[in-house]
């Protein structure tokens, strides 16, 4: 897969990485690597989903299948549900209020809360109360043969949990945007809209291998979920890579004098007044991404618990980030 030809999401990935903490402009090979990883993940997801759907006796995959895949990552699942709920809300809002709300559409990622706040004060909160519950297939309602509409007065405790997970990210974003100028913030919010799927449905379908791996006609929801998940993947990957980079820099700072001692001291000069902030100078390199990916792929003991004391070798499947 040659990088340049297939790199279809270069800017999006750059924007996403920027949102997730990367300050400098990543090199093309970095983004290509990220894109490849994401593509691999998406394909894997689709494949697994198809397998699940087939097992259910269904040809086309459903949102439940996707949720099933990430069932062990509870915070992510909560975010996903949150995202889906707000997606519903937005849809309703759009239907009721014909003028499309730019603010509501802005949040391609997890910025739904911000979108809601940005939206008109009157109708949206009212609607938000009636937001559709996205129930998980393995959750309590599925225990019973009859489906009962939820009562409004019930507060879902999980909401707090998912809010907590979201709030963490929002807080981080807030920290970063605190000192931004207006232009910067515009850039920032533009970047936040970056999505693999939003208004690029066809491209995404092609890219992710719809029609090859699975049914050609995916649900809109599925595309949205995949968009959400891909964003999450890039985000996680970037964060991990940044950690790797930070550790590396720390190590360099400590041992750097020995390692590249001569060069470093020579090149090192006093930071000038108009220098870029130091972290912006060096973007994340592909090796950081690779290391981050490796760390994320580290198998969990749970996977091989059953092959302990048996002579079977354990085959590791790709871990979904």
């Amino acid at each position: 897969m040659s990088s340049e030809k297939t790199a279809k999401y270069r800017t999006e990935i750059q924007q996403m990485m920027f949102v997730s903490g990367e300050t400098a402009e990543p090199a093309p090979d970095t983004t290509t690597l990220v894109e490849q990883i994401v593509q691999q993940q998406v394909m894997e997801m689709l494949r697994d989903c198809t397998a699940l759907a087939t097992r259910r006796g269904n040809r086309s995959i459903s949102t439940d299948d996707l949720m099933m895949l990430i069932r062990h990552d509870k915070p992510k699942l909560a975010r996903l549900r949150h995202f889906l709920q707000w997606k519903d809300v937005r849809k309703n809002v759009k239907e009721t209020e014909n003028p499309p709300e730019a603010g509501a559409d802005v949040a391609g990622g997890d910025d739904a809360l911000g979108a809601a706040v940005a939206g008109p004060a009157g109708p949206v909160p009212a609607k938000a109360n009636k937001k559709a519950r996205v129930d998980l297939v393995w959750d309590v309602p599925s225990f019973f043969s009859e489906q009962v509409p939820a009562r409004d007065d019930e507060e879902d405790e999980e909401e707090e949990e998912m809010n907590h997970a979201t709030l963490e990210r929002l807080k981080y974003a807030d920290e970063r945007t605190k000192d931004m100028s207006r232009e910067d913030y515009m850039h920032w919010s533009e970047c936040r809209q970056a999505s693999f799927t939003f208004r690029k449905g066809k491209r995404f379908r092609e890219w992710a291998g719809f029609g090859v791996i699975t049914d050609a006609k995916p649900n809109d929801d599925i595309i949205d979920i995949l968009g959400f998940l891909t964003f999450e993947i890039v985000q996680t990957l970037t964060e991990e890579a940044l950690k790797v980079k930070a550790a590396e820099e720390m190590w360099k700072k400590r041992n750097g004098q020995d390692g590249k001692g001569g060069k470093n001291t020579k090149r090192k000069r006093e930071p000038g007044l108009f220098d870029w902030p130091e972290e912006e100078r060096e973007p994340v390199q592909p090796n950081h991404i690779r290391e981050g990916f490796r760390r994320l792929q580290r198998p969990h003991n749970k996977g091989r618990a059953l092959s302990n004391f048996s002579r079977q070798s354990h085959r590791r499947a790709l871990r979904l980030i």
Partner: protein
């Protein structure tokens, strides 16, 4: 036994610096014996003995010497401790000069406390016994005679020749000296034994610290087999000779020494010594006096010896000892093997050219069995002959046999000491002599005590001034004439020194002879001479003996030359060598036993069973006990008890102990696991009752598995899970109702069994049926355990929301769970048993690094969980989310379901008014249908109250009788619970059923309907008419529905079947019309034809029935033709 242990252990600890001082009193005593006997000149036998002993001892390695010295020293201390008590118990009647102090000097066996005097008294008794047995001179109990008898017997034991020797002209002195002599030769023997024991002790001690592998056992076995073969051979060859005597002669058994163990019981004391030592050691506990004990012992051993003979004096002792020696030599198979049998001409053709007097152990045994040995010397000479022969023939100093011979010789020297110096004589002779001696004693008794001995003491004291300090010490401990016995050591210092200076026994002898000659000359008086011939014989033998001595001395020199270098490599392994030596026989027998269990490398099922022996078990227990005290100090809570038990067991144990052979006491426990098998519990024994039926002991040992062993233990978690599951069941009930209601809304028609009542039962874990097991371990029943796990899995499934589970799924998950738990437990075990590590810092308290577990228990569990992919967070979140919070969710869900059902049933119903069921009504009640649900709020729903129905009919409630309600709800309800009908509403008597209309009673009807009924009846074949109500359901006419207007607009519907029939009829009519139109036929024929063609369409073609044909054929045939 105990006494020995104590003394040895104490002597071991003794500092080496104490050695020189302690050496003196002992060594002279040992060396004096030869002096005297040498001076006797005639006592060549004793000289031989002494010489051998001296050399033998000198040859013993320093360690043994050291043991011996320490032992003696501690002995003396012990004796000194007892001295006071003994002094009190002095017998006034007996010789007052002999004080207890005397005995303390004679280092006797552990509790040699009883001084000479008690010994004397015992002697008296024994003497009496002897007399009785012999039938000679009963009642001779005068002190003189006792003493003389004592002297005689003492001499008899120590050196039988002495009293008879021509030089023995002064009996009192001689008696004393011979007592000394006896004592000393006894000492020597005892010391030799002790040294041997010390060695054995050392080996035994190592039993518990060293583990010897079993690979040598086979060799031992083979060697032992060879020895046994030799034994058999000898036995076979000598079996022709008649056994000597009746074996009833404990003739010369009269013991004379101070303690039991020194009591000269002859060579049998080799066997009895343990018992005796034990008895001595615990003397204060024994309530019998010496005399009784002695008698007891002599009685016990009376019939034991095959060597015993009435006619021969000393034979038993000599031969037993000799046999023992031979056995021991034989048992040293490593070295003795070449000497077991005669040298054959095939092996060494020229052997008999060089060796004129061949000798071997086998031949010696034969000779022994043939009673060919007359004295110790004969025997010893033969023994040495073997080795000298070997040395003579194999002149090459490197020859391996030579080495072996030297080693054997060394052993021989050591062992020979154990043989009492006795000469076999005829009883008649001895008795005669005794009588003579008695009279002599009587004559000389007066002089004995004071006069003669003092000068001796003085003169000898002068002779060795260097030892005065020693002597002074010794003498202070004693008084009176007995000092002579201590005195004698003094002159012997010189020989000892000389002996040490030059190891040449020849020179030694000369010197001894020099020094002792004056004494002998000075004191000896001419002997009675009656026995000279015999003595001469002995002297001749003695000459031979001295020759042997010389050669032996050479041999010793050779040993020193050869053995020292060769012993070097052995030295480091000496413990092992000793061990091998000591345990050979036992090991061999055990190996043989084991070998017998196998045939061709397979277990031989026909092999004899291995049996425990009492002795073996006792020994095992003893060894265990011996090891216990050490463990006891280290913490073991169990040991005190067992120790107590053992202590209690001791007294009962010991008496029997001595009686049995203890040849193989020298085996470590691990060789004898059989003896360690604990008592088989009563219940396992095979018992038969009188009828030969096996008595079952099962009942007593069976144990019930406690109840609840196979059910879920009660805990908060399980309680919560149970609660969740109950909640789910309740919710499902409501769910089912909602389903029913929804279905009823959709469906137009109900079937009676369409809605099964959903009534889940609460989960009850059926406990496992009472299980009985016969032992204490965990209950191992894979099937039950698996079923239990499966049940647990099923519960978890239900808890996870599955209402039902396929058995296959359950099986699969159970298998996975089993696998997982296997892995879990296995890794737990792995962590638990991981190697210990040294404790980091302060573990070096005892000089040894302390070890501790590598992982603490907590760490072990954490590691295990991690290794198996179980995170604590996951566990916690399972409990928190999947159990705890699930409960909340389920509760919410339940509420929702309830309110939903309530909404379904009565949309306007106030949710606050809902009953406990959530439906708004009590379960299964007819509140809703009956209309009295509104009573609570005081509303008259149907207006019955207003009508005053209650007052009019005295009704208890105003609910509408259910059977009046003809709606679906009612039907559905009724089909669900039929039993509920009778509950209420049958207040009014049902009216009598209408009389069915028949032909007979049609007249009772109103005239206008009579015609109608008649028509009906005629249709119904004159049968009585049935009411519409009673018709089967499908024929029933639907009830007319009255619209609110009250007008019946639509005509009454016919019942279904009727409608169908009508339709059919109509069709038929039309068809018939067509047919009629098409083919002109007579109507009378139509019906039968049709019928016929319907009934037997096939049979007609196959089998034409002639009779039927007559009736029906014509029209039947007609119609087809007509067609």
């Amino acid at each position: 036994m105990n006494g020995y242990h104590i003394s040895h252990s104490s002597s071991r600890n003794f500092p080496h610096g104490a050695r020189p001082s302690s050496a003196h009193p002992f060594n002279p005593g040992r060396l004096r014996t030869p002096n005297i006997t040498d001076s006797d000149m005639g006592g060549a036998a004793t000289g031989n003995n002494g010489g051998v002993s001296a050399e033998g001892v000198a040859q013993d390695d320093a360690r043994v010497l050291q043991f011996r010295e320490h032992y003696l020293q501690s002995e003396r201390r012990l004796a000194a401790l007892f001295a006071d008590k003994d002094a009190l118990s002095d017998d006034p009647k007996a010789d007052s000069h002999q004080t207890s102090g005397n005995s303390t000097q004679n280092a006797t066996a552990p509790s040699s406390a009883p001084p000479k005097k008690p010994a004397r008294t015992i002697d008296e008794d024994d003497y009496g016994d002897e007399d009785d047995e012999d039938g000679a001179e009963p009642g001779q109990t005068s002190p003189l005679q006792q003493k003389s008898a004592l002297a005689a017997s003492g001499r008899g034991f120590a050196s039988p020749a002495a009293p008879l020797s021509p030089f023995n002209h002064k009996p009192p002195l001689h008696r004393l000296s011979s007592i000394d002599q006896a004592k000393h030769s006894d000492d020597v023997r005892r010391q030799a034994e002790e040294s041997k024991e010390a060695l054995e002790e050392a080996a035994k001690r190592s039993f518990h610290t060293l583990f010897y592998t079993l690979e040598n056992d086979r060799v031992a076995m083979l060697e032992q087999q060879r020895i046994d073969e030799l034994d058999r051979q000898v036995e076979a060859e000598t079996s022709g000779q008649e056994p000597n005597g009746t074996g009833n002669a404990a003739v010369v058994a009269a013991p004379q020494q101070g303690s039991l163990s020194t009591a000269n019981l002859g060579a049998s004391s080799l066997m009895l010594k343990h018992l005796l030592a034990r008895v001595d050691g615990q003397r204060h506990k024994v309530h019998a006096n010496d005399t009784q004990l002695r008698r007891l012992i002599s009685e016990v051993r009376k019939n034991r010896s095959k060597w015993a003979s009435e006619d021969k004096v000393n034979q038993e002792e000599l031969y037993e000892a000799a046999e023992k020696v031979l056995q021991e030599l034989k048992a040293m198979t490593e070295n003795s093997l070449p000497f077991l049998n005669k040298v054959s001409k095939r092996e060494a053709p020229d052997y008999y050219n060089f060796i004129k007097n061949p000798m071997d152990i086998g031949s010696m045994m034969k000779k022994l069995k043939g009673f060919q040995y007359k004295s110790k010397k004969d025997f010893v000479d033969d023994l040495h002959l073997i080795w000298t022969n070997c040395l003579k023939y194999n002149t090459d100093p490197q020859h391996p046999l030579r080495k072996k011979a030297l080693v054997m010789q060394k052993h021989t020297d050591r062992l020979v000491i154990l043989i009492p110096d006795l000469v076999v004589r005829d009883r008649a002779e001895v008795e005669a002599e005794e009588r003579r001696n008695a009279s002599l004693d009587a004559d000389l008794d007066g002089i004995e005590d004071s006069e003669d001995e003092e000068p001796i003491m003085a003169s000898r004291g002068r002779k060795a001034p260097s030892k005065t300090g020693k002597k002074g010490n010794a003498t202070t401990a004693r008084k009176g004439p007995n000092t002579i016995s201590e005195d004698t050591p003094v002159p012997d210092v010189k020989p000892q020194v000389l002996n040490m200076a030059s190891n040449n026994s020849l020179r030694n002898n000369y010197l001894r002879a020099d020094s002792d000659a004056p004494m002998e000359n000075g004191f000896s008086t001419p002997p009675p001479g009656t026995l000279t011939p015999l003595m001469n014989g002995v002297i001749v033998n003695g000459a031979g003996g001295s020759q042997a001595d010389a050669s032996e001395g050479e041999g010793m020199g050779n040993i020193n030359d050869l053995a020292v270098p060769t012993e070097e490599p052995e030295l480091d392994d000496q413990v092992y060598q000793t061990w091998k030596q000591l345990t050979k026989k036992a090991r061999a027998s055990i190996a043989q036993d084991r070998n017998r269990m196998f045939r061709n490398d397979r277990i031989n099922p026909e092999g004899p069973a291995l049996l425990r022996s009492k002795a073996g078990m006792r020994r095992w227990m003893r060894q265990q006990k011996k090891n216990l005290p050490q463990e006891e100090s280290s913490s073991d809570p169990a040991t005190p008890e067992t120790g107590k038990d053992a202590a209690q067991a001791v007294p009962g144990e010991t008496l029997a102990e001595g009686m049995e052979e203890e040849d193989d006491t020298l085996l470590p426990d691990y060789y004898d696991p059989l003896s360690g098998i604990p008592e088989i519990p009563e219940r396992l024994s095979w018992e038969e009752d009188a009828n030969g039926n096996v008595v079952m002991h099962n009942e007593e040992c069976l144990r019930m598995i406690p109840k609840g062993h196979f059910s879920m233990p009660q805990s908060i978690l399980t309680q919560k899970m149970e609660a969740n599951m109950r909640q789910m069941q309740e919710t499902r009930k409501i769910c089912a109702k909602i389903g029913v209601v929804k279905q009823m809304q959709l469906q137009a028609q109900m079937y009676s069994n369409q809605f099964q009542k959903y009534d889940p039962q609460p989960f009850i874990e059926v406990p496992a049926p009472p299980i009985v097991v016969s032992d204490d371990g965990p209950f191992m029943a894979p099937y039950v355990c698996r079923a239990t796990l499966q049940r647990a899995v099923g519960k978890i499934f239900y808890h996870a929301g599955y209402e039902e589970t396929q058995p296959a799924a359950l099986e699969a998950v159970t298998d996975v769970a089993i696998q997982f738990f296997h892995g879990l437990v296995q890794s737990l075990n792995l962590y638990n048993e991981s190697c210990k590590v040294k404790t980091p810092a302060d573990g070096l308290v005892k000089g040894e690094p302390a070890y501790q577990r590598r992982f603490s228990y907590e760490e072990t569990i954490l590691h295990t969980l991690d290794e198996n992919g179980v995170e604590l967070d996951a566990l916690e979140s399972y409990v928190k989310d999947d159990v705890d919070r699930l409960g909340g969710k389920l509760g919410v869900m339940h509420e929702r379901m309830r309110s939903h059902l309530a909404d379904l049933l009565r949309p306007a119903l106030d949710p606050n008014q809902t009953g406990p069921d959530g439906v708004g009504f009590n379960d299964q009640s007819e509140q809703f249908v009956g209309g009295d649900f509104a009573e609570d709020i005081g509303e008259d729903y149907f207006g019955f109250k207003e009508l005053g129905l209650m007052e009019e009919f005295g009704l208890s409630s105003l609910s509408v009788p259910l059977h009046l309600l003809q709606n679906r709800m009612y039907n559905a309800h009724q089909s669900q619970n039929i039993s509920a009908i009778a509950v209420s509403g049958t207040i009014m008597e049902p009216s009598a059923p209408f009389e069915p209309v028949t032909i007979e009673n049609i007249g009772n009807e109103i005239g206008i309907v009579q015609q109608f009924f008649l028509n009906k009846l005629s249709v119904n074949n004159e049968n009585p008419l049935i009411e519409d109500e009673d018709l089967p359901v499908k024929q029933r006419f639907p009830k007319p529905r009255l619209p609110p207007t009250g007008k019946i607009t639509s005509p009454r519907k016919r019942p279904i079947r009727e409608q169908q029939q009508m339709a059919k009829k109509k069709r038929k009519l039309e068809e018939g019309k067509e047919e009629v139109n098409g083919v002109i036929r007579q109507p009378g024929f139509v019906k039968p034809t049709g019928k016929l063609s319907l009934d037997v369409p096939t049979s007609k073609e196959n089998v034409p029935d002639p009779e039927k044909g007559v009736d029906d054929d014509a029209p039947g045939m007609m119609s087809p033709e007509s067609m």
